[in-house]
Symmetry: C2
Subunit: 745 residues, 2 copies
């Protein structure tokens, strides 16, 4: 190595290529002109006076010109704006209106307004660096000659008071705007000072045909936008359980929490007028993965550092905790909690939405339509090799909007899912995916349709593993997954079966075409052609109370003309609702002889002592799977049954005069039915609109002991509502009770 | 409040709802059966002996059965496997083959193999908990009677040695597999012990028609898979600059770094056979946003904690730093660095790919086709209100694959872009988006097509801002963005203009239909109908050396039959290549008189002192924009021109005998052409295949001083390559030089 160096150069060692200390964030200089506007927080920089030119000395008096003395936002819940915009229920002192629909404000000037001479504008701003071309600065002119993208008109003048009507654009940014009145003088523009009391929220508008979320059905709007109470379904498709929920979208602080969620997620303001983008971003922000969103998921049973998912009775506490702590994720959630909080968010901002439950949901799929169960060479389930699990049920949301980014025909209900899904490339957001597209197998349109399609359409493939380790598919159950999709009925507490929104009838020609279409578009199915069955086995349905000993019944049917002998393995496992097995608690291996064309029942006694302890640890269900080999033919037969074990209930009673502001009482009663104590028991009671959440802890409730807890309260609002209570402790969860309450004025 | 409490309950205060301490990760218990297999790392758990049953006492001697004495993976670069699979160039001791194509291994047993009696399998495993149904455990049988999803056959037997041919599935997982030989005995399965020397990498195979990445063009495959050297275009569309790059995909450690990137991103193994998913995941992982990926972006000019983006000459150092530090993101990158490292990743794994450059790229778009420039009421550019910036150029990747998830016709080249984009909802990944779909405006198919469409098709909309603050569009330039798309020619250093892959010809009927289609699918354009122009202005092209004083020429053309006077504002700004302005360095306001039908040139002298200092701070270009008002008509006219200022070059010379292992010398020479010193100067030189990276630092190079640096080296490989050098310091970047070198055996 030779160097010809001038006297003032000195070769130095090569610089390290991996720095050990680096600051977290790099300046935006060179990358952006200015930081991106991704927060609703209103900048303080709109100038009070914008001169047109250098002002001459000795200004003529500006008092000849219009001066603003007062602005009335007409924002009381009983006044015209909130009444006509269906925003009167929000517990919020500011004006709240919906877009693409006229609202009114009254400006009091120093003198009467002269339409020809006087020029002024009502200006709306949102976020930092407001700009007209970005929809973050919008002047509204009251005169016909000049109109901006939001329209204005003088509705009425009376002395010094002018009533202005304003119609916002149907795709304007949803959020909280600041308001100024700007008066044009020959020397420049004079503005009112920033006054937060004039701030106005502008929301999505399902009542306006011009808005992308337009829903042309008044009852659906009342249910999916205005109803704060809901019912969420869970359990098993043949033993559906219900859980009431307080979405509370109009409660104090919730609207601001929703705007905070979008700010926390750095969602650019320019995207906040598009319901497709808002719902997609929120499906990421409602879970805490990646982005410090609202909820931390936890299925483990260890909830020490938060609230057990089954303990929540509503979204309000969760959203207030999140925004109150400036965005510290709240623990804990499972799928219905994600869906319920997401529902609150959507309804609060004005996007019609509902929570749906899919029974037997293939949640952790990779877009393929196969959920595998591995059997050993005898036909017994090999749990160590079976890694897939089908969720007993899964809750997601549907929201209603047009889809201008897709070809015609895919607007309407869209699936969005905030529960993180692990197998699909780190996807912690899902949707919106058009329900119509999913039904028709058109899974090539955004967003994430293949995953939702697989959730409702996967096949369960039973593989038989030979001694040498190869696998052969021996049975394909095409009916198991996506057994039923339920949502709450409109405006009453019934169930609406919407399975046919997602799937054509089982076995129909359309169903076959749809699955072929989806396969063309990449969803792989098991195509093994299997022999038709001689022998059927079915496990019959059961309704079981927690702690009962019960009989499990299997029904065998021999369709053939030969006698057959079947070796059966019956395995009963305690499973989490995600289908993940915890412990096998029942295992029997009867041999069943069947005469030609015979139907026969086989009974299995399931003792309380066998399952109770394990079931209480896991708070799940009992999953029975029967598999076996027909001796003569080697054919594999299978049956599965999920048995929901019903918990004890709370008794909730309400007493007192059912009127606003009157004194009333709620009593919650519970008796411990077990032979062991319950320790560190939390009871929670909530009455949407009438009583805020109350909680009480009991250190111990002994075997057979009862508790009775009474609270007094004073209803804030009139109307029909519920008093809902939950009881939770490590040994026993999901104990609920409720009662309906109607309050008069 | 009354409580009826049993003696052993005590009411306790309500639990806190917001815990202050919470562990970072929640157990997967209840959520998954087992942790997801998202790492290539091979589990050690495949048992050495798997008994079929309880073994009797006193086993008969197992030596009657086949015993494996040796396995030859036939893995030398000159041997048949690597030669036929085009994997002989990897600097890697393991066997590397491509999928869907036969490769051979030789097994030496203890005795001759008896096809009828002897049963054995060659087993491949990848990751943790290998399973057949997930494609992570694959047994290969040599006999026709039984075949698994990978096919095997005995090619040859010779004494104790059996040569097996193995064909992997065309969609198998890409990664590094462990290998076992499993022999079936009546008592159980005997396996070889885990031996890492038998590990085999299986890659994508563009030579096989069965593989989704099949590319039916041998020269394209040699360029886009096998070529380690590339050329990246930058600068301006009418003054294109070139930069050589060492992709180095076959260099030592790079293949493992690529697998590490997928592991670091927790990419599920089951997704790693799908090039759509692999390229999508990598577009997220190549940038460090969200997921501790490879590169940290930095455009600010302050590169103290890393290597300046313009200083890199290849990907090798970057990828080795990243994997060597177990995934600490490497600083710094700008768009070509992201694209180049991404290109190495794709080519290394076997997905054909190339880097493309789009001149005038609307990178930070929100799917809308409008880039706004705000003019004041006189027609002068209002920089404080103009927030959009168009990148002078932007580099992304195209990779080649079928798109089975889309309707027919959208396979082939796909756009993927790893440079983070800020305005689209936090998108730090982009693509794959079908180039054919983008050309045809079919932006409704996944992934992220609207953003790529807008990058090449946005209009530049000039708004005039009235005194009262409203904006009117006064000019729309539809030709500016997406002026030209270039990539390197196949197998030689020329340019290939591929603009017509992305766009129909300007003004054609197809172009109009495409833009209408995209608008139907949600991309909004400016639809103002503007008057046709009487007066044109154009800024003529320039080639300028750094430090020169030069003339800027404007050409005015008066198409009308009237005399016109135009007030022009000419602004020259130093801009980053992202179009972000740094400082205005030229501002003149001539008035131009034009006779009817006259063409006239107006000259502007741009002095070196005016721009040099600011330009050196920013290392960008000079952007001139002329805007003005025609006095009589009020019409606004505009012109824009980017002037690339050419840096001094390095001289690179190579001496010595150009043969493998001979001693050779490279000399790098540079003279500082300025009147000021350059301090802390780093010079970097790299010769792919012949000399590893050398760097040298000079504390100071005085005005007019020269440096000469010579290194000796010994070429490792024969073939055509380049010696590439770069010089970098705070005051001067992007100084390059290179020379071609051909090495004989």
């Amino acid at each position: 190595m030779t160097d010809q160096e001038t006297p003032d150069t000195v070769g130095m060692p090569a610089p390290p290529t991996v720095p050990t200390v680096r600051p977290k964030r790099v300046s935006h200089r060179g990358r952006h002109v200015a930081p991106l506007a991704s927060s609703n927080k209103i900048d303080e920089e709109v100038p009070e006076f914008e001169p047109f030119m250098l002002l001459p000395k000795g200004l003529p008096p500006l008092m000849e010109y219009l001066d603003v003395w007062d602005v009335d936002m007409i924002k009381q819940p009983h006044e015209v704006n909130k009444q006509k915009h269906h925003t009167n229920l929000y517990s919020n002192d500011y004006l709240i209106v919906r877009r693409a629909q006229e609202f009114q404000i009254k400006i009091t000037f120093n003198r009467a307004y002269k339409p020809v001479e006087d020029k002024f504008a009502v200006e709306f701003v949102i976020g930092a660096s407001p700009q007209y071309s970005k929809g973050t600065y919008i002047p509204v002119f009251p005169s016909k000659e000049r109109q901006s993208i939001w329209r204005g008109q003088v509705l009425e003048t009376s002395d010094n008071v002018v009533t202005i009507g304003i119609i916002t654009a149907p795709d304007c940014i949803v959020g909280k705007y600041g308001l100024y009145i700007a008066v044009v003088t020959p020397y420049g523009i004079r503005r009112t000072r920033r006054d937060p009391k004039l701030d106005v929220y502008i929301l999505f508008n399902p009542w306006s045909p011009a808005d992308a979320v337009f829903l042309d059905d008044e009852e659906e709007r009342e249910e999916c936008v205005l109803n704060e109470l809901g019912v969420i379904y869970h359990g098993a498709y043949d033993d559906v359980a219900e859980r009431s929920w307080n979405y509370g979208q109009f409660e104090f602080g919730i609207l601001d929490a929703c705007l905070f969620i979008m700010d926390k997620g750095d969602m650019p303001l320019t995207n906040r007028g598009d319901p497709v983008k808002v719902s997609r971003k929120a499906s990421a922000m409602v879970n805490s993965r990646d982005d410090e969103g609202v909820l931390v998921g936890n299925w483990s049973g260890d909830y020490m550092y938060g609230v057990p998912p089954t303990s929540w009775t509503g979204s309000v506490e969760i959203l207030r905790d999140y925004s109150g702590s400036q965005g510290m994720p709240v623990g804990y959630a499972q799928c219905w909690v994600y869906a319920a909080v997401f529902n609150t968010f959507l309804r609060c901002l004005g996007i019609p939405s509902r929570v749906v439950t899919n029974f037997f949901s293939a949640h952790d799929n990779d877009g393929n339509l196969k959920m595998d169960i591995i059997l050993d060479d005898k036909g017994r389930v090999d749990r160590s090799r079976t890694r897939d699990s089908i969720w007993n049920y899964h809750c997601w949301n549907e929201c209603f909007m047009a889809r201008p980014d897709l070809p015609d025909g895919f607007g309407g209900w869209q699936v969005v899912d905030a529960t993180p899904q692990e197998t699909s490339d780190g996807m912690y957001r899902c949707g919106p995916a058009s329900v119509a597209a999913i039904k028709n197998g058109q899974v090539c349109y955004p967003f994430d349709a293949p995953f939702v399609f697989a959730e409702v359409n996967s096949d369960v493939v039973f593989y038989s593993r030979s001694m040498e380790g190869t696998l052969q598919p021996v049975k394909v159950n095409t009916k198991h997954v996506g057994r039923m999709v339920l949502t709450k009925a409109v405006l009453h507490d019934g169930r609406r079966d919407i399975t046919d929104h997602y799937k054509f009838p089982e076995g129909s020609a359309e169903e076959r075409l749809v699955l072929e279409k989806a396969e063309e578009l990449g969803c792989q199915r098991e195509k093994a052609s299997l022999r038709p069955v001689d022998i059927d086995v079915e496990i019959l349905a059961q309704e079981v109370q927690l702690g009962e000993t019960f009989d499990l019944e299997l029904q065998f049917t021999n369709h053939s003309a030969q006698q057959h002998v079947v070796d059966i393995y019956i395995s009963g496992t305690v499973v989490y609702y995600t289908g993940v097995p915890s412990a096998e608690v029942v295992f029997q291996t009867p041999t069943v002889k069947l005469d030609p064309k015979q139907s026969k029942k086989e009974k299995l006694v399931v003792r309380s002592e066998a399952y109770l302890k394990k079931l209480l640890e896991v708070q799940g269900n009992l999953h029975f799977i029967a598999t076996g080999k027909v001796k003569k033919t080697g054919q594999i037969i299978t049956a599965m049954r999920l048995v929901t074990v019903h918990n004890p209930r709370l008794t909730v009673k309400v007493a007192g005069s059912p009127r606003v502001d009157e004194e009333m009482y709620v009593t919650v009663e519970f008796t411990n039915p077990f032979m062991f104590s319950l320790e560190n028991v939390y009871v929670r009671v909530e009455g949407p609109g009438i009583m805020s959440i109350q909680t009480k802890q009991y250190r111990i409730i002994g075997p057979g002991s009862s508790i009775t807890w009474t609270e007094n309260f004073s209803p804030r609002r009139a109307g029909s509502t519920k008093m809902m209570a939950s009881l939770d402790c490590a040994a026993l969860r999901q104990v609920y009770g409720e009662t309906e309450v109607t309050i008069q004025e």
